[in-house]
Structures are given as structure tokens and as C-alpha cells.
């Protein structure tokens, strides 16, 4: 090969570069190193992280962004061995050798726990072919000082290691000899001049060693960071790694700041005694032909039948699917869409991808597991026809270009939701079908966020946990870009304090550093060839689960295929509801056959009767429903998308609502006449009455109104998607607003549009995604409307999910005339079930899963030996042989009601049953042997205590609401019930008290929304920011809250109580259990643990 740069004396390439993907070892991002190498004019840069290739794609991506002369990127790894072998840099010369390096690292990972890699020299020897190897006699990091004895013993030997950080010449010689026998031309000895005092002598020494063995010497600077200033951060990450403070770290830290990328001149000077070592770096670079461009991705071909091409097969399946969806007459619109898509798919040669996803989905359906595609895939008619997505192209205008575009040349991204309880089956099937060497999960790079950064950095500076907890807890929401000084002040620490200031500075630098790799929730990468020759694969925490070293972005960069196998609780719930409906009502439904556009369903939603309904059950959504009044499917799409940070931050919600209700005319913002057509935004915004609501509308705005080029728009899209890289989006701000205003748009509109884009950054919904979700909204609402008992039952059996606790779900079911029956040994199973009701309806029987502390296997045993029923507690005990603890729990939960004795008596009786570990001698007389007892009756259990006990055991009570017992007390204070509040006149003063269900502080608005519940319903409380500070203690601490304020009736009859004064009345709950005894005022410092959790914990924002 012709040498590209020639062997000039003033050329240098740094071969030993450690990035921060050598977790807590490197102190610079790959991007920083690449940019620095380019600035310094290095011929090439070799990224060699510690037993990993995790950072190379980042480096590769960074290289693409560099304008002008780019260094050549060498992809390699620093092999760190578990058997004491010195570190070796390994660089593959070609694609085949790269595959071997991946196999080598995968093998090392397989032998190690998650996140680690154990290599021994033999592993390397096995895969050595084609790898250029640089042996580094110096360890990468200072070793911990050996034990005294060990040290003393070593002193006895004459041939000692020179310093704790260097291997002995004998070891190095032996290693070089061993490696040389296999590939004599591929071995180097790497030396660094790090200002350790004896550098020259060491250089001379290694020169001799190298020349006697016949191995070239190569100069490196063994780089850990891109510039000298990063030494501080390197010290910090070293301390984090070693769990030590800076003051304790001593010689674990580098002695100086020399391990940065140095200029060519500096390197030449350092190696003036060995100029060949500098030249050698260029020879080395020229040997390597491998680049990441050569990773050619192959789609798996399993799903394609013999004798057909993938494209033909997809073609056939798509038209079959269309016939299944539409019958024999396929609408013209669909027909056109399908043809267009199939053509594009053929052109881009991605048919196998669709077939693979179809394959997974078909398996899922065959197992009666519900699934549905989400995200941009819902823009595809082919996906609809294949049954992957549920968005009918007849109902919505598809934007196939959003999904696949020729320009982007990126593979499509299909995300599919599966039932959360059965996703594992799907995953196991994928492994069985493709094998673990061809299927693996993508990685998620876990990065330092403000909270974790300050916590770890604080520890390193010796700040106490309380101080750092204080600092980190003042960071509301964890995605902020940096700890600001105001946040430091909020944490009530003086930012001027040197230590705190340093810790915060370091934490800010640390934010965004990768900390470790974790598995992606469900992103599968599948290949035709061996995946482990493409990228190293390692085991995940879960057994037989593997993940690769690259994350979603890396996979995109390299254009590999990924299928997201996601879990969605609502699908579980819907499937369970369908099952119940089939068993108890004899009707069969699936996602595609639920009757569409039923007006009664929409009426229910308009009333905000939406507890348990997918997506629209949150407080904000329930407020929106009566205002938006959805009456058709597309309204639900908007409903789902509008209550999101994007439209809210962009202040787009109210304009849309005003236009919808006809208060404001529908008009389209337009540029100045000289800059474009007046109606240029009509196409973009006509669906949403001239107000941008969806993510793609915002993108279109950038292209049409702000005249972004395709490249710029792509950059904006990426900045938006990777909201973790906060800061990047700001680059687009001036461009976006400036151009829009320049073209004659109003400043205010432009700013709002951009704010919206920023909002989408956090959690944006594209239209297609909203449509997929809207489909589930409709289906869950339909079930709730027509099968309320099955709906409540399925919801409870799918917990934990959704927004509401079981108590609220049960209350809602009862309000919809579903009889709910208590847990009972004679009737309940583990799951909640449906039972026939005399009037032909179905009643909901609570199951043992609602009883806290009860176990599924106990429930099964109990059900199995129930026969004709239990008539006494002793029969239960004898037949089911449950441990005493189980019987006590059952009695506590009042589940012997059908036996007909008082809960208290039963509980007292159960406690008398001998313990499980009774001696075998007495086993015979187990329960029966107990003589009848003649005891006084216990004091009767008041209802209020029954209710409390129910709450303790079940988190709900069917007997009464806690507030019922306090009603007289509060009535005497003039407190209204929640129902009365909801009927009260607008503007009237009122008091309301109730159990706190939720507290929320949306965004950083400072407003707190609380929901109070009592025996008649729930009331919504709003606390304005000013009051939040005054009543902070009450707001945050109260379980039972009394609020004084003004009733406010909003659009759609939404009622809020706007707080003026707030009281914490939690102590009133004590009255409920301490009824008949006159308590002495006890000075208790320990509240009873049972009492502490009497009231279910509210769902809060912190």
C-alpha cells in the first residue's frame, strides 16, 4: 500500500488513547480526543479502551463532524489481563481481524460478571491473527501498594520490579518472544516518557530490550485525557473508581498532568534519543486498513421461505394482510400507499427487516400475547397490513417519509409494545430462533446526571453524604444540564466555599460521562452473520441475557437494524379483560375487532370518567377531556399529544382549544409577502387548526418557515431526540428564531415554536405514536364503558401500572354499579375474579393478591384444597396446612367472613394455633388436639377499626371510607365534602378535608396540585407557588389535609379548590383506632409501624 503520509520526522500518531469509555479511567469524551488530535495535526489516533470497543463508534461519529484535515481513526482495544500479563494494545488490520478482536473480547466478557472482562494471555494467542499488538511495559494506573510481607519478601530477590508501576524486563522479554513466534511482524513495544525522573534511562533500557528481541520500539504518551487541564477530573474519577477521597488517594493518583495528547513537536522532543520510535507510529498506522465503514450489516433471512426473495415474500404478505384488514376491496388510498412503500422498501433493500419484525409479531400472536407497534412505524401502511401497527391509513394521513426516508439512509426503527407480563416469552423466542450469537440487546450507556455527579464528586472531596444529598436533592428532575449556582444556593450551601465550589465544578464536568453500560430495555439487534464478530457481546444481569457494547445512537450511526421489544402494562390489562369477557360473557374480541367509533365511549370520556383508561387518566388529562370533548378517533390522537411538555411549554394548548370551540378564528401564521406564500404553513398545520401540536409539525416548521436545510433539520431532530446532550439544541435556537423572524413571522410565534421544540426534547409524541396510543385509549375506554367489572378486575390483576391505586380503581368500579366483594377463603383466588351476580351482572371478587404479605403459592394451595368449602378456621388450617403466618394474615384481612365469625374472634383463635415448628411429637394433635377454650368474649371491634385494618391489609376497604368516621367532627367545623365542593358555586369560599391521594408539581411551575379523597368522592386542590412556601410542611407532610380556599369552576366544569390556608390534620386518624380507651397523653417517640402505613401512601412528585 502506498504510504499516505510518508515517513516524515514531524509526523506522529498517538496509538494509546484511553477515553472515558474505559469507565472511570479516561477523563475525556472520545469526541474531545478526536478534536484535539485533529487540532494538533496528528496523522491518526488510536482509540484503545480497556477491554472494550464501547467508545469507538462515538469517536467515529465525532470524526465525521470534523471539517478539514481529519486524523485517521484506528479502532482497537487495550487488553488488560487477569493473569498478570502486561497491558497490550490490539489493533485489527482488517475486517476479519476486527471480528477476531470482537470474539476475543466477547469471550472475556462471558467469563466475567456483568460489565467486566477476564482475559488471559492464552485468549489472545487464540485470536491473535491479524492483530497488531503493542506491549506496554508500564501499567496504565498506579497499583495499590502491595502488602508489607509481600514487599519484604520481594526485596529479598535481586531481580525486583523497578517500581510498582512497571513490569519486570524479564516478563516483558518473555511476552514479546511468545507473541513474536506467531506473528513476528505485528509486535511492538510501546514506551512513554511521562516525566517520572528516570525516563531517559528507562527508554535506553527498553531500546536495548527491543533491539535484542527484534521488535520495534514505538512512542506513545499513554493518553488518559485530551488536555492537561483534565488532570483534575482524572484524579476525581480515579477516586470514584477506588471509593476513596482525594486526600486518601495518595499515589493512586498520577503524579503529574502529563498524560494528555501532546503536539508532534513535543513528542519528537521527548523521544529525541529514539527518533525511530516516533517514525514507527506512522508505519504502524499505515499497516491498518480497517475502518468502521467496513462493518456491513446483514439482515437475518430466517423468515424468508425457500425459493422466494425477501422482497417477494414481503410483497405477498403485505397484500394478504391488506385483504385481511379490508376484505376483498382494498381502498384506493391504501393500495397506493402500499405500492409506494413496497417500492421504496425494495429500493432500500430492507424487506428482511419488515419480515423479521413480522416474524416476531406472528409468534406473539400465535401465543395469544397482545402487541402493537408504536412510534414512527405507525406511519407505514405495510406495517398496518402486516399487523404490526394498528393505525389505519384510512383514518390518518400517513407520513411514510417520517418512517423511512431515502435521504436519511438510516434503517427504519420499529418499536413494538408487548404485554408487560409476557414480554419475556417473546424475548426467549427471539433467542431460540436466532441464537445468542446473533441476537442481543442494545446497550444503554448510563451516564452521570447532575444528581449522581454531585453525589459522587462530593464524596471524593470528603463532603458528607448529607451535604451532597442536600446539593443533589435541590436538583429538581434529573435531566438538567448542569448544576447551577442557584441550585447550590437552594441547597443552602455557600458556593464560595472552596470545597463545595470545587466539587460542583468537577460534578459539572462529570455530567455526561459514561459510568457503565447497561442493557437497553428491549432494543434487540439481530444479524445474519455472527453478531459477536461485529461487536463484543457480554452477559447481562439476567441469566442467558446478552447485550452488545453499543447503544441506540451507535447502532444508528453504523446503520444496523434494531427492533424494540417493549413492555406495556395496558396491553396486559386489555388481554386480561378480553379473556374475562370471553369466559364470563361469551364474547370474543381482539385489538382489531372492538367496535369502532362508539359514541357512548366518547361521551364517557367527555365527562372525564377515565380512571384506569390508558394515557388519559392523569390529572392533567382528566382536566383536558371535558375541554377538548373528544368525539372521534382523531380527537383522541390530539388529546394524547396535547397534554405534553412540548405543546404546554410552547403555549399551544389554549390557542388550540379556543379555535376548537370557535372563540378564535382558525388562521395560519404567514411570512412577509416578499419571503414566501401566505399559506405556506397551511399544509403543515391544517390538521390542527393552525396550531402546531405534533413533533413532526414542529420539524416541518423548521424546514418551511425557518428554511432549515435537510442537514440542519436532521441535526435539530437529533438534538431533540438525544435530550441528554443538552446544550446541543441551543445551537439551533438563534438560527430557528432568527430566520423565522427574518422572514416576517412574529417574534412571539417563533419563540413559542422553538420552546415547543425544546419541550419535545423531553418527551415528544409524533403524530403516528399518538395515534397508536390513541387506539389503546379507545379500546380501554370501550372496555371500561361496556364491561366495567372485567375492566376493573383486569386492571387490578395487572398492577402495578397506571396512575391509580387499587382503592381508587375499586371505588370507581363501585361507582359504575359493579358489586365488589371482599377477599374470602371460600371464594377468592390469587387473582381478582368475576362472579355471577343475581341480577345478571358480574361482581368483582377481590383476590389474595390484594392482601399485602400473602403469597401466590399459599393462595394456590388454599384454592386447591377448598373442595366444598371450609366451615371453620381449623379446617382451613388442617386441610391447607398453611403456615401460621398465612392464617394470621388471612384473619387480619378479614377473609373468613363466609365462615361467619367476627374478625377479632377469628384472629384471636388463629393465634392459638401452635407454631409451625411444633415438635413432631405434637404434630399429631396439631389443630384438632386443642381443647375447646372457655374464654370471655373480646370487646367488639368498632367499624372504624375494621376499616383501618382493611386499609392496613388491603390498602382499601369496602366497608367505609376513613373520612366517614370523621365527618361529624369536620362537619362541626364547617368543612364540606368533596362532592359538595364539586357542586359549589364558582368563587365561593369553602373548606374541604380528605385523605391525600396525589401531590404533583408539573414541570418547574412551582404550582402544586393535590387530590383529596373522602367518602363521597375526590376534590382537586391547587396551591399557587407563593403559598407553597408558606405551607410547605403541610403540603408535603399531611396524610389528611384540610384546605381552606376558593372554589374555581373552569371550562368543561372542572372544579378546583384554590388553597388559601392548609392544615395538616393527620393526627385525627389516631381517633379511629383509639376509640373506646381513654388514652393517656403518651410521649411516644416511636409511632407504631402499623399505624405509620395505615393510610396508603400518596403518589408524590418527589
Amino acid at each position: 500500500m502506498v504510504c499516505a503520509w510518508g515517513l516524515r520526522m514531524n509526523a506522529y500518531a498517538e496509538i494509546a488513547v484511553t477515553t472515558n469509555y474505559s469507565f472511570l479511567r479516561g477523563a475525556s469524551h472520545p469526541k474531545e480526543l478526536i478534536e484535539q488530535a485533529a487540532r494538533l495535526g496528528h496523522v491518526a489516533i488510536g482509540i484503545a479502551d480497556r477491554n472494550t470497543l464501547a467508545g469507538v463508534v462515538r469517536a467515529y461519529a465525532a470524526l465525521q463532524d470534523i471539517k478539514g484535515d481529519k486524523p485517521k481513526l484506528l479502532v482497537g482495544a487495550r487488553l488488560v489481563f487477569a493473569d498478570g500479563t502486561p497491558d497490550i494494545l490490539a489493533y485489527p488490520v482488517d475486517r476479519a481481524a476486527y471480528g477476531r478482536l470482537c470474539r476475543l473480547l466477547s469471550a472475556g466478557k462471558l467469563h466475567a460478571p456483568k460489565g467486566e472482562c477476564y482475559l488471559v494471555l492464552d485468549d489472545l494467542l487464540k485470536w491473535q491473527k491479524g492483530l497488531l499488538l503493542v506491549v506496554l511495559p508500564q501499567n496504565n494506573e498506579a497499583q495499590k501498594e502491595p502488602e508489607v510481607n509481600f514487599w519484604n519478601k520481594k526485596l529479598v530477590h535481586e531481580e525486583v520490579s523497578n517500581s510498582p508501576t512497571e513490569h519486570s524486563p524479564r516478563d516483558i522479554r518473555a511476552l514479546l518472544q511468545t507473541l513474536r513466534t506467531a506473528t513476528p511482524a505485528d509486535i511492538w513495544l510501546g514506551v512513554s516518557m511521562l516525566h517520572h525522573g528516570d525516563d531517559q534511562r528507562r527508554l535506553q533500557h527498553w531500546q536495548e530490550v527491543a533491539s535484542t528481541i527484534g521488535v520495534p520500539l514505538m512512542a506513545t504518551n499513554d493518553v488518559l485525557y485530551h488536555c492537561a487541564e483534565r488532570r483534575e477530573l482524572h484524579d476525581v474519577v480515579t477516586c470514584i473508581r477506588e471509593h476513596i477521597t482525594l486526600n486518601e488517594a495518595g499515589q493512586l493518583l498520577e503524579a503529574n498532568a502529563e498524560r494528555h495528547l501532546k503536539s508532534v513537536g513535543e513528542m519528537v522532543k521527548l523521544f529525541h534519543q529514539a527518533p525511530d520510535a516516533i517514525v514507527e507510529t506512522i508505519r504502524f498506522v499505515n499497516r491498518i486498513t480497517f475502518s468502521l465503514d467496513q462493518l456491513k450489516y446483514n439482515y437475518p433471512d430466517e423468515p424468508v421461505p425457500k425459493g422466494k426473495t425477501a422482497q417477494q415474500h414481503l410483497h405477498d404478505l403485505a397484500w394478504q394482510g391488506a385483504a385481511w384488514r379490508y376484505g376483498s376491496v382494498i381502498p384506493e388510498k391504501v393500495r397506493t400507499a402500499l405500492e409506494k412503500e413496497l417500492n421504496l422498501i425494495a429500493k432500500m433493500e430492507i424487506a428482511p427487516y419488515f419480515l423479521t419484525v413480522h416474524d416476531i409479531v406472528s409468534f406473539t400472536k400465535s401465543q395469544n400475547i397482545l402487541c402493537q407497534g408504536r412510534g414512527s412505524a405507525a406511519n407505514s401502511a405495510v406495517c398496518y397490513a402486516l399487523g404490526i401497527t394498528a393505525v389505519d391509513p384510512m383514518q390518518i394521513d400517513l407520513l411514510f417519509e417520517r418512517f423511512i426516508s431515502e435521504e436519511r439512509r438510516e434503517p427504519p426503527d420499529i418499536d413494538v409494545d408487548f404485554e408487560h407480563e409476557r414480554r419475556e416469552e417473546v424475548i426467549q423466542n427471539i433467542y431460540q430462533r436466532y441464537g445468542s450469537h446473533r441476537a442481543a440487546l442494545a446497550a444503554t450507556v448510563i451516564c452521570y446526571r447532575p444528581r449522581s455527579a454531585i453525589r459522587e464528586a462530593g464524596k471524593v472531596f470528603g463532603l458528607t453524604e448529607d451535604v451532597t444529598a442536600n446539593l443533589s436533592s435541590s436538583v429538581w428532575g434529573s435531566w438538567g444540564s448542569a448544576l447551577k449556582e442557584s441550585q447550590v444556593r437552594q441547597g443552602r450551601l455557600d458556593p464560595a466555599n472552596l470545597l463545595v465550589a470545587r466539587a460542583v465544578k468537577m460534578a459539572n464536568e462529570l455530567i455526561g460521562f459514561p459510568r457503565h453500560l447497561s442493557q437497553h430495555v428491549g432494543g434487540f439487534v439481530l444479524t445474519q452473520d455472527r453478531l459477536d464478530e461485529c461487536v463484543p457481546i457480554g452477559p447481562a444481569t439476567m441469566e442467558d441475557r446478552f447485550f452488545i457494547e453499543w447503544d441506540k445512537d451507535d447502532i444508528d450511526t453504523l446503520r444496523m437494524m434494531k427492533v424494540d421489544v417493549l413492555a406495556l402494562g395496558m396491553l396486559t390489562c386489555i388481554r386480561k379483560a378480553f379473556d374475562l369477557i370471553r369466559v364470563h360473557e361469551g364474547k370474543s374480541y381482539d385489538l382489531a375487532t372492538v367496535p369502532r367509533e362508539d359514541s357512548a365511549v366518547y361521551e364517557m370520556l367527555q365527562r372525564a370518567d377515565a380512571i384506569g383508561v390508558f394515557q388519559v387518566e392523569s390529572r392533567a388529562q382528566m382536566n383536558m377531556l371535558p375541554r377538548l370533548k373528544p368525539s372521534k378517533f382523531y380527537d383522541l390522537v390530539i388529546e394524547v399529544a396535547i397534554v405534553r411538555p412540548g405543546p404546554i411549554q410552547g403555549d399551544m394548548v389554549h390557542p388550540y382549544l379556543r379555535r376548537r370551540s370557535g372563540i378564535e378564528p382558525v388562521e395560519y401564521p404567514s411570512p412577509a409577502p416578499e419571503h414566501g406564500k401566505e399559506d405556506e404553513l397551511f399544509n403543515v398545520l391544517s390538521k390542527t387548526m393552525g396550531v402546531p401540536l405534533f413533533q413532526e409539525q414542529a420539524m416541518k416548521l423548521a424546514i418551511v418557515a425557518a428554511e432549515f436545510t435537510a442537514e440542519e433539520a436532521n441535526g435539530l431532530r437529533r438534538a431533540m431526540a438525544t435530550f441528554r446532550n443538552v446544550g446541543t439544541i441551543d445551537n439551533f435556537k438563534d438560527k430557528f428564531i432568527g430566520r423565522m423572524v427574518g422572514r416576517g413571522y412574529k417574534q412571539d410565534f417563533a419563540e413559542r415554536c422553538f420552546k415547543q421544540i425544546e419541550g419535545f426534547g423531553s418527551y415528544g409524541f409524533p403524530e403516528s405514536h399518538a395515534a397508536s396510543f390513541a387506539h389503546l385509549v379507545y379500546i380501554s375506554a370501550w372496555i371500561k364503558k361496556y364491561h366495567p367489572a372485567a375492566f376493573a378486575c383486569a386492571l387490578l390483576n395487572s398492577q402495578p401500572m397506571g396512575f391509580y391505586a387499587p382503592a381508587e380503581i375499586v371505588r370507581d368500579a363501585r361507582e359504575h354499579d359493579v358489586e365488589v366483594r371482599h377477599v374470602d377463603v371460600n371464594h377468592s383466588a390469587w387473582d381478582n375474579r368475576l362472579e355471577p351476580h343475581p341480577d345478571g351482572m358480574l361482581a368483582l371478587r377481590l383476590g389474595f393478591r390484594q392482601v399485602s404479605g400473602f403469597r401466590e403459592d399459599w393462595a394456590k394451595t388454599l384454592a386447591a384444597c377448598r373442595n366444598n368449602g371450609f366451615d371453620t378456621v381449623n379446617v382451613v388450617a388442617r386441610r391447607a396446612k398453611l403456615p401460621k403466618r398465612a392464617l394470621i394474615i388471612l384473619a387480619e384481612a378479614d377473609s373468613f367472613q363466609s365462615i361467619g365469625k367476627d374478625r377479632r374472634e377469628i384472629l384471636w383463635a388463629v393465634r392459638r394455633i401452635p407454631d409451625d415448628d411444633a415438635l413432631p411429637l405434637f404434630a399429631a394433635r396439631y389443630v384438632d388436639g386443642q381443647a375447646e377454650e372457655d374464654i370471655e368474649p373480646l370487646p367488639p371491634m368498632p367499624l372504624s377499626e375494621h376499616v383501618l385494618a382493611d386499609y392496613q391489609m388491603l390498602r382499601l376497604s369496602l366497608k367505609a371510607h376513613l373520612m366517614f368516621f370523621l365527618r361529624d367532627l369536620f362537619r362541626s367545623e364547617g368543612v364540606l365534602s368533596c362532592a359538595e365542593i364539586n357542586k359549589a358555586r364558582n368563587g365561593s369560599k369553602a373548606k374541604c378535608a380528605g385523605i391525600v391521594l396525589t401531590r404533583q408539581m408539573p414541570g418547574d411551575s412551582g404550582v402544586v396540585f393535590a387530590t383529596l379523597s373522602d367518602e363521597e368522592g375526590v376534590a382537586n386542590v391547587v396551591v399557587w407557588p407563593k403559598l407553597v412556601e408558606t405551607f410547605r410542611r403541610e403540603i408535603m407532610g399531611a396524610r389528611l389535609m384540610l384546605v381552606e380556599g376558593k372554589v374555581q369552576r373552569g371550562e368543561g366544569d372542572v372544579v378546583h379548590l384554590v388553597a388559601e390556608r392548609i392544615f395538616d390534620r393527620s393526627h385525627e386518624l389516631q381517633r379511629l383506632s383509639e376509640d373506646e380507651t381513654q388514652m393517656l397523653p403518651a410521649h411516644t417517640s416511636h409511632s407504631h409501624p402499623r399505624n405509620v402505613r395505615t393510610v396508603p401512601k400518596s403518589r408524590d412528585f418527589h
Binding site: 525522573g197 503529574n256 393465634r911 370471655e936 371491634m941 408535603m1036 407532610g1037 380507651t1077 417517640s1085
Partner: protein
């Protein structure tokens, strides 16, 4: 008698603050936190925090959300225990039978002791008021049994219940007064038996069958039907010898001979057990109640009466505040603490072993005479900074170093650190012609190696610190120096000389 200190940890901190005379304007509410299941939870709450609604067991995040101004300190159980032990020591004056009862309580058996302090009422009031004056939220009660006293201290502070009247006093108290475990307490409450009185009406067999005999025993004790003797706290010394005097003694002579005889007796006991003590304490109880303690410490466990005797003599001779017998001592006690096994009695033939024990003895003697903080030994300190590569610590307490001394040379190689390091680096002039002028003399550099670049510890200094470049230098006369340069233009220093 039961004494209860419900806020011991916060009292501890607040007393310390008061002792330091820190001005307290509107002190913020104070809580202590401990990690429970990986979450910080409140483990103690002061009066103010209680009144603002904070409770023990609450998550810290939660408490902070309620009261951002909250002052939070990490719990320190050993310190609390030490404080409680200290209070117990103080209580020793009322009765020898003082027991620690859980982390927040003391039990005192005052049978036959109260008359010395003006009767039960006067004694209880005295103790409570003294403790309260000390800054403790102390509550106390007196009853015939420990269980009853414990319950009353909590629910009826200051109560004195005569023996036999416990049942009447206990009946109205809630079941929690029995101090049973939470499961049992819950079981009783759930059965509707919410007061001690209600429980007492149930059949004994009924209770035993359900709650176990132990519960019944507690009940019996609380009702005064059975008494369990209190176990006085384990005397802190492992071994001790004491001598009582019917007539209080005053003369130094007697004191000294008594001490000697106690030493011999104690040494014998130690020998029988094959053990030696590292701390010996002599307690002189004065007839008027004051106690004087004098302790000597040893670097290694010792049981040699002669050595111990000599150490005490040195210590007594050096006392700045002489032993004032006042009306005389009526009891002298010598106790051995920090007892450890002594491996073998055989004389160590290895001379170095003897040398070592002699050094130890020298250290002990010097420490007894000058105070242990004055006798120091060097230990290596892990750092790159040359002048900080060691620390000096009190020789008696110096643990064997975990770190070895850093090796400054390779085998058969010149040392990397000078034999003599100057306390203060001395500035020199370095001329272009490879000469430097130090202490007015001119030195021609003939050999030189370096640089060894050492960067300073950036986190310790406000301003950025310059790194040093060290060179090992030999002059024309063969003398070797350790020089460094710093900054641009470089300033040069001699930091040390090699042999």
C-alpha cells in the same frame, strides 16, 4: 427506678453546642439520620422538629421537603452509647446497681439507697432535675419492678409507685407501656385489648397459648406480681482489685502501699488468665462522694507488677493537680482494661524481640512522664509530595502501618529521594553554564537526571499551584543534590542532599 432519655442524640448535640457557647438565634429544628435499607431516615428528632410534625422513621427526603431549613446530622450510635454510659457512671453515686436498658434508658436499683438522699421522692426529683439542668430531656419514675418503672417513666413522668400498687397504676396505661415487641403489641391491640388492665383480665392460659410465656412474664412484672432483678451493667474493667477502708485514709504512704498491693494482686490475676492489660486505672473514692481517676496506658499488654508500679509512681509524681484526699478515701480500686492475651511466657531469645519490648517500655515510661501526645513515631503517608511522605503519630497508639515505606531505590541503584530533605527548600541561582550557587558556593553540574515532574494537590489550595520538576544532580566534586525548578521563568531550589 427507670430513667428515660427520649431525645438523647439531639440532646447530645445541643449540649455540645451550648458548651461551645455558640450563639443560638432561632436554632433550626435538628434531626439525626441513619441509613435504613439504603435510604436515609430520621433516627432522632428534637423537640422543635417534633412540634413541627417530624417523626422518627420518616425518610429524610420527606422531612426536608417539609422543612428545608432542617439541620441534619448523621446518627452516631457509639457516641450516644458513650453518653448514656457516662450518665450511668454519674448515677453510680446513687447505687452500684445501674443497668443500661436499651439505647435510651437506665435502670437503677435503689433498694435501700434512697434514704441516703432524703427519701425516694427527693432522690427521684434530685436526679431528674440534675439531669434536666444538664440539658437532657430526662424522664423518670420509681416502682417496685423494672417493667413498671419503665412504663411509668414513659407515661407518668415523676411517678412513685409503692411496691404492691403497681397493678393499680399500670391498669389504665396503653398496651405499649409493656414495651413488648411490635408484633405482640399489634396482636393485643387487634384483639381489642388496648390497656394493661384489659389484658390483665384475660385468662393466663389464654394469653400464654397465643403470645407465649415471655409476654405473660412481662405482664406479671409490670403488675408487680413478679420481679426480675436488674443486671447491672457489666463493669467496664475486665479485672479489678479494690480495698475498702473502714476509716478513710489520708496519708500518701498508705495510698502508695495500697496501690502497690493492689497492683501485685491484679498482676497475679492477669497471669492466671494468661493476659495483660494495656490500660490500668486507679480510682480513688472520697468519703464525700467525689471520685478521682488516674490511668496509665501501655503500648503493649503488660502484667508485670514492677512495671505497672513504676508507671503509676511516675504518673503520680507528674500530677499537676495532686491527689487531694480531702476527708480521706474510703475505697481504692485498681482495674485493668483493654486486656489482651500475652502469647508466651518463654523468654524471647531473639535479641530484636527484646529490643522491641524495651523500646515499648521506654515509650511507655516517657509517655507516662511527658504525656502520650508528646512521644511520637513516624509512619509513612501515601502522597506524591516529597515533604509530606510521612506523618508523626503518638507512639503508644500508633497502629502498625498498613503502608510500607515507599521504596526510593531499585536494587543496586542510587536512591530516588535524598537522605536529607530540607524542611524548607533553599532557593538557588542556576547559571546558564551548568552551575548553581547554593549557600554562596558555586557548584558545577557534571551529571544530571530528570525531570521527575510532581504536580501539587490542586484540591487543597485556593490558587493554582505550580508543578515541580525534580532533578538528581551531581557536581564536579561528586556531591549529589536534589534540585527542583518551578514556574516560568524557572526558579530553582535545593530540596535535599544525597549522602
Amino acid at each position: 427506678m427507670a430513667l428515660w432519655f427520649p431525645r438523647l442524640p439531639t440532646d447530645r448535640l445541643q449540649r455540645r453546642e451550648q458548651a461551645q457557647k455558640k450563639p443560638v438565634f432561632e436554632a433550626p429544628p435538628l434531626v439525626l439520620v441513619a441509613k435504613v435499607n439504603n435510604a436515609l431516615r430520621l433516627s432522632a428528632v428534637d423537640r422543635k422538629a417534633t412540634s413541627l410534625g417530624l417523626t422518627i422513621g420518616q425518610p429524610l427526603a420527606n422531612a426536608r421537603a417539609m422543612l428545608p431549613e432542617l439541620k441534619v446530622v448523621v446518627a452516631n450510635d457509639p457516641a450516644d452509647l458513650k453518653l448514656l454510659t457516662g450518665i450511668a457512671d454519674w448515677c453510680d453515686r446513687f447505687t452500684p446497681f445501674v443497668a443500661l436498658d436499651g439505647p435510651r434508658r437506665l435502670l437503677l436499683d435503689v433498694t435501700g439507697a434512697s434514704h441516703l438522699f432524703g427519701g425516694e421522692q427527693a432522690m427521684l426529683d434530685h436526679i431528674r432535675s440534675k439531669l434536666q439542668a444538664q440539658g437532657f430531656a430526662a424522664r423518670g419514675a420509681l416502682a417496685g419492678t423494672a417493667a413498671a418503672a419503665r412504663a411509668l417513666a414513659r407515661y407518668r413522668d415523676g411517678a412513685i409507685i409503692a411496691s404492691g400498687e403497681e397493678e393499680q397504676a399500670m391498669r389504665p396505661l396503653p398496651v405499649e407501656a409493656l414495651n413488648l415487641d411490635t408484633v405482640t403489641t399489634h396482636a393485643l391491640r387487634r384483639a381489642g385489648l388496648k390497656t394493661v388492665g384489659q389484658i390483665a383480665t384475660r385468662k393466663r392460659s389464654e394469653l400464654v397459648a397465643r403470645l407465649g410465656a415471655a409476654t405473660l412474664a412481662v405482664l406479671d412484672e409490670a403488675l408487680g406480681n413478679a420481679a426480675k432483678p436488674i443486671t447491672p451493667r457489666k463493669p467496664p474493667p475486665d479485672y479489678w482489685q479494690e480495698q475498702n477502708f473502714a476509716e478513710p485514709i489520708v496519708t500518701e504512704e498508705v495510698i502508695r502501699t495500697t496501690l502497690n498491693s493492689l497492683t501485685v494482686a491484679l498482676a497475679k490475676i492477669l497471669e492466671q488468665h494468661g493476659e495483660g492489660a494495656r490500660r490500668l486505672e486507679a480510682m480513688f473514692f472520697r468519703a464525700d462522694g467525689a471520685v478521682r481517676r488516674i490511668a496509665v496506658e501501655m503500648g503493649a499488654p503488660t502484667r508485670d507488677a514492677a512495671i505497672i508500679g513504676r508507671l503509676f509512681r511516675e504518673k503520680l509524681a507528674m500530677l499537676s493537680d495532686p491527689l487531694d484526699p480531702g476527708f480521706g478515701f474510703d475505697l481504692i480500686r485498681l482495674s485493668a482494661g483493654r486486656v489482651e492475651r500475652i502469647a508466651s511466657e518463654a523468654v524471647d531469645l531473639d535479641a530484636s524481640g527484646n529490643e522491641k519490648s524495651e523500646i515499648n517500655f521506654l515509650v511507655d515510661r516517657l509517655a507516662a512522664r511527658f504525656g502520650s501526645h508528646r512521644i511520637l513515631v513516624f509512619r509513612p503517608h501515601d502522597t506524591h509530595i516529597p515533604e509530606e511522605a510521612w506523618v508523626s503519630v503518638p507512639a503508644q497508639h500508633a497502629p502498625p502501618s498498613k503502608l510500607p515505606w515507599r521504596k526510593t531505590r531499585k536494587a543496586r541503584d542510587a536512591p530516588r529521594r535524598p537522605l536529607r530533605l530540607f524542611a524548607r527548600p533553599e532557593p538557588i541561582d542556576f547559571t546558564a553554564a551548568q552551575h548553581f550557587i547554593w549557600r554562596r558556593a558555586r557548584h558545577a553540574v557534571t551529571k544530571c537526571e530528570g525531570p521527575e515532574r510532581i504536580a501539587m494537590q490542586w484540591w487543597r489550595h485556593e490558587a493554582p499551584q505550580l508543578a515541580r520538576d525534580y532533578f538528581r544532580v551531581e557536581d564536579s566534586e561528586g556531591r549529589r543534590y536534589w534540585l527542583y525548578r518551578q514556574g516560568t521563568p524557572p526558579q530553582w531550589f535545593v530540596h535535599g542532599v544525597f549522602a
